[in-house]
Symmetry: C2
Subunit: 369 residues, 2 copies
């Protein structure tokens, strides 16, 4: 599974793995892929420094990258408190009532919510970058549009490739115009924030729109057959996120959540604004149903919704309140049916890819080859 | 593009084309694919007989099939008038008001709506089959679940393969249990009735669920690269519908609608209940927006919605009322950018397929082959 892009990065397989867990990122790079650490949860720069140190010590010299959530437009002088003040009381009460209905306990006194994500605030993301550029990262990906121009310049000065996610050809063209090096075409079936165009259509749309920039296909990919399909569509690699949630190296805090992921079929997700205020694919739960119910107050725009539900999501996860317990994940969750090591995932991917290539050659009448 | 299934049917390319137009169906089969005539609009058996005669005379002896819309469960003694009587007055008034708002003229006195589709009524579909089994059709496809058991038996007695559409692995298993021969996995991105699981995930789901039954991939396929992707995912062929709407052999009555289809990008569709009462992908218009608007009365269940809007849709199409003018079509509409002949579509499909196979072999390190 080698493309121009994988050769440029010096990796064996054109498989990029996005993960919030340093151990998973390092294992992906060691297995011949390209691990990308999600930074959005690192509020304190020292925590990010600690985990990048860990990766450096465990990646066996293989390349890796960082994923941040950085808005292209700067919002001057807005603090978290300002945003909190914009949340209507009725919405706060809906959270209180819904949690009470399911008997969800409070966090302990002084306990900080792990879901109080502030990495989307520009200054927090910039602090992350100040740390990251001290490490030999090879890729900086942004989940929220093109990064600001000075960040792109700074990355290029550090010989770091810049990528961004796009849900349409139009968004992808904006990334190309902003001087980015790679576009991640994020299909409808992907976990997390997605648009409505499915990978089968989106991948070639984006490939054609930004040619000759390399495109990574994201959304619906968890087997070698799906890798082959994405590469047949013109991608120079694949970007996998969901599949790493249930690897043995992952550190999901809730065993019950892992069970839910392993049991879920491909129809078990929903694209909902419940988590962040923008449509994001996640396990469908009674929590997402409550937010998507026309009888409820509905969701608030980003970033208000994320702040509104941060403590609630932490409480649901900590106390493993089954009917409400969810996580961002793509439709590929239907193929995540056993806990495997990262290396075993790669073994399955490469085996499935070779089988798909054999199959397609037979169909093309090149079976002797 | 040859698979076990295409060899069994004696066709050159494992490309199945669904179309309401006899000229397109015949051209698909002549080009080496397998044309499937959509029968739902044939209320009068003689009309179907006339068009099957035409196909017989123009298909050069190549095989073809028929697509019907037949419910598995029989609803005894329900007439169209009974169904009409179930439509609330408020919904009728909403149709009147919306059409008036856009100044849509009435049909002429005595003019019959082309969209008054009754092919979904079991007796109408059975009358169609009485006609069709007098012709050497090789495939009978059903768009609405498994056909009734006696129809499957009758088809098999005529050496006709039976296929049905499925939007999930669960539905596909029901088809296998009903003794069907082929499952069409209809992804989220497809035109017409679809579920929520995208082709990248649905195709292998269904392939695994009904193995060893052959699966056709539908949804998001209009290029040879997409054919290669679908076959890499395990399909034994592809099922294309949208792409034939703008071929030169098609007989869409509205030039403005053809212009709209050629101009639309892949984000121009919506999955809406506006046309039939079940979610069906179609061009997004101010008509679909009106039905999907929470401030409106909302849609009625199938088959009420279809009867409610039949005349309206005919009037919108006849008078080409631009903001309301739409049609069922998939996200692949973004690649339908010029009027081509059916043969030109096949030339593009085979060329793109070969390019994709070359590409995937290079990536797999089999470039010398």
């Amino acid at each position: 599974m080698q493309t121009e892009l994988s050769n440029r990065l010096g990796i064996e397989h054109a498989v990029f793995g996005f993960t919030p867990f340093p151990a998973v990122a390092a294992a992906i790079s060691r297995a011949g892929g390209f691990g990308v650490l999600g930074a959005v949860r690192y509020t304190a720069p020292d925590d990010l420094k600690r985990d990048l140190d860990w990766i450096e010590a465990h990646v066996d010299g293989m390349p890796y990258g960082l994923d941040v959530v950085m808005p292209a437009r700067k919002v001057e002088g807005v603090t978290e408190a300002d945003v909190e003040a914009m949340i209507p009381e009725g919405h706060r009460q809906f959270v209180v009532d819904t949690l009470a209905k399911y008997g969800v306990p409070e966090l302990a006194e002084g306990e900080v919510s792990g879901w109080r994500i502030t990495g989307w605030m520009e200054q927090v993301a910039r602090n992350q970058l100040d740390v990251a550029f001290d490490y030999p990262i090879r890729l900086l990906a942004n989940a929220l549009g093109s990064p600001p121009a000075d960040v792109v310049t700074r990355a290029h000065e550090h010989d770091v490739l810049v990528a961004a996610l796009a849900g349409s050809a139009r968004h992808a063209v904006k990334h190309a115009e902003a001087g980015l090096d790679i576009v991640v075409a994020q299909g409808y079936e992907a976990g997390g924030h997605t648009g409505e165009i499915a990978s089968m259509v989106l991948t070639p749309d984006v490939v054609d729109a930004v040619d000759p920039l390399p495109v990574l296909a994201a959304g619906g990919i968890g087997s070698g057959q799906q890798v082959a399909a994405a590469l047949a569509l013109g991608a120079q690699g694949v970007w996998l996120g969901s599949v790493w949630l249930t690897v043995t190296e992952a550190e999901l805090p809730s065993p019950k959540l892992i069970e839910k992921l392993l049991a879920a079929d491909s129809g078990a997700t929903v694209r909902s604004r419940a988590l962040t205020g923008k449509p994001a694919r996640q396990l469908r739960t009674e929590w997402t149903d409550a937010w998507d119910d026309p009888a409820g107050p509905g969701t608030l725009p980003m970033p208000l919704q994320g702040l509104l539900v941060a403590d609630a999501v932490s409480r649901i996860q900590k106390y493993e309140v089954d009917p409400l317990l969810g996580t961002p994940v793509g439709q590929i969750v239907g193929r995540m049916n056993s806990e495997r090591s990262v290396q075993a995932v790669f073994d399955d991917l490469t085996r499935g890819f070779e089988q798909a290539v054999d199959r397609i050659n037979r169909i093309a009448g090149r079976s002797g080859q």
